[in-house]
């Protein structure tokens, strides 16, 4: 049973990304509230506890250990209806390093809720990256709510990428908040393609609390038909030489609607934070350039969106 579920989950993402294998690749597959597959590597500890509606995962990367190959996490639900709540605690100890490729797959969803509640601590001099790719079906019946509180200690590095390009978004509410100590580096990227009645809300916040902390927040969204998006990107800087940048770009077509609210707040005269936001239709010069190479309008627009979301 568990093997069949694992195979089903992996098969549903296989067309987008080949799932890595081998003894030196750590992985964990979770269907609903069941662990259906797992493999660990030295330096990586994972404890799980089943919840009624999901799973609690405690992931620790041991001090000084560098997990060379990306850790593959696979969450999902194959049935049309259900809830999956993941409570995740991540601790990356001093000078450790790990990179996670997470796939969240709901290929048949008609009424599915996926909630992620994460608390992540990246200790002094450690590095952690989390690439989260969602694979949704065509129905749009998914509510996705990833929420993370992240703590970067001195000299820590954290990068997160959220990608939802294939299938219908459904309803999505991202909420990440990161505290950055001195000399830490934060990078948050979100790329989402909304269609039909999809609704997207993105809250991404970085607090540059320590000197020389740096943050870059990038949100690129394309919307078609009646999709709607609201993006709230915030960077606050309280320490000298803190540097931040917020970049929000959204292409809007048909009857879609987008709203961007970049907030930059600087509380130290030696800090510096910038922002740029652009919302609108496809750039006419880009469109004309591609059409003057023989692409029809739809193909040209698709290529421009592909670039924005790459």
């Amino acid at each position: 049973m568990t093997s069949a579920l694992a195979d089903g989950l992996l098969a549903s993402i296989a067309e987008f990304t080949p799932h890595a294998g081998g003894d030196d690749v750590a992985h964990l597959e979770v269907h609903g509230n069941q662990v259906v597959g797992a493999h660990l590597v030295p330096g990586l500890r994972v404890n799980t506890q089943t919840l009624d509606d999901g799973l609690e995962v405690h992931l620790v990367v041991t001090r000084g250990i560098r997990v060379v190959k990306p850790v593959h996490l696979c969450f999902g639900l194959l049935p049309e209806r259900g809830t999956q709540r993941i409570v995740m605690r991540v601790e990356v100890e001093e000078e450790a390093e790990a990179h996670v490729l997470a796939h969240c797959t709901f290929p048949n969803a008609v009424e599915v809720t996926h909630v992620m509640d994460a608390e992540i601590t990246v200790a002094e001099g450690a590095a952690y990256s989390y690439f989260e790719r969602h694979v949704h079906g065509p129905h749009g019946g998914v509510f996705v709510a990833p929420k993370a509180a992240v703590h970067l200690l001195e000299g820590a590095r954290f990068r997160t990428e959220f990608e939802l390009l294939k299938g219908r978004v459904g309803r999505m509410d991202i909420d990440y908040e990161v505290d950055c100590a001195a000399h830490s580096i934060l990078e948050m990227i979100a790329r989402v393609f909304g269609r039909a009645d999809d609704t997207l809300t993105v809250h991404e916040t970085g607090h540059l609390n320590g000197a020389y902390a740096r943050a870059a927040l990038q949100t690129h969204i394309a919307l078609r038909e009646r999709a709607r998006a609201e993006v709230f990107n915030t960077v606050t800087a309280d320490a000298p030489h803190a540097r931040g940048h917020v970049d929000c770009k959204e292409i809007v077509q048909d009857q879609a609607m987008a709203r961007a609210v970049p907030i930059v707040q600087v509380n130290n005269p030696r800090a510096h934070v910038t922002h740029e936001a652009a919302i609108g239709s496809v750039d006419s010069r880009q469109l004309q350039t591609l059409m003057s190479r023989g692409l029809d309008e739809d193909s040209a627009v698709n290529l421009i969106i592909e670039g924005l979301l790459s």
Binding site: S284, Q286, Q288, S292, G294, E306
Partner: protein
């Protein structure tokens, strides 16, 4: 092969093209020169059929067939293309994808070959984005690579030397020669003497009309004092041009 017949175009309250007539021969490099505001770029845009430049009187014919009502992408599929004075930036769109978009052969090898022909090292550029991280000169050469890969019949090049350093310009001139050798017709929009001398035949445009045409040696004389300050107000009398 390409004929512009008595073309007139008004943009707002300004008459930009004013009964312009010209013939462009297959496999030749032509230049269109004239002062700022003479209508050179407008002519290129009208030939390409860009939005805002289609409400013309007169006609544009390709192989004797009118292009009236033919949209940009269809004109491109018939072999016409345009290199902009300031090429567009495409955030995130990779160079190899950009080149392949309109290429006759959509392979990576074809894109790499096109980059080599404009003097850019494929391993360094193929996976970069056509965005602000490239200089204006690099984007110009990448645009030219995309045109090479397209193998067009007619290339309109608007100010090909704009934003280009001397070395890159020599490379662009070499590509012009290659395009011509491959049978393409090239129409250079310029007010640069160096670019003009890449052409075999030139048109002098002022106030939306052809004032003179002929071999480059003849037309280049206007750069030597006769028309360099030409404006609509001091347009030469027809007799003065003989």
């Amino acid at each position: 092969m390409l004929e512009v017949r008595d073309l007139t175009l008004q943009l707002g309250d300004k008459q930009i093209l004013n009964g312009l007539t010209a013939e462009f021969w297959e496999g030749h490099v032509h230049a269109i020169i004239g002062p700022n505001g003479a209508g050179k770029s407008t002519l290129a845009n009208a030939i390409m059929g860009l939005p805002g430049y289609t409400d013309v009187r007169g006609d544009i014919l390709l192989d004797g067939v009118s292009l009236r009502g033919v949209p940009v992408d269809e004109r491109a599929r018939r072999g016409i293309t345009l290199a902009w004075q300031e090429p567009a930036r495409f955030e995130g769109l990779r160079v190899d994808r950009f080149i392949a978009a309109g290429a006759r052969s959509k392979t990576a090898a074809a894109a790499a070959t096109a980059l080599e022909r404009v003097g850019l090292d494929p391993p360094r550029y193929m996976r970069r984005a056509v965005d602000r991280t490239l200089s204006g000169g690099e984007r110009k050469r990448i645009e030219l690579a995309s045109i090479i890969a397209m193998e067009p019949r007619i290339v309109l090049m608007d100010e090909p030397d704009s934003g280009i350093d001397v070395d890159a310009l020599q490379r662009i001139f070499a590509v012009l020669a290659e395009l011509k050798a491959a049978g393409s017709t090239v129409i250079l929009i310029t007010h640069s003497m160096a670019v003009l001398h890449q052409a075999e035949h030139a048109f002098l445009v002022c106030n939306g009309r052809i004032l003179d045409k002929g071999p480059v040696e003849k037309i280049s004389k206007y750069f030597e004092g006769r028309c360099i300050t030409c404006s609509h107000e001091n347009e030469p009398e027809p007799g003065e041009l003989q």
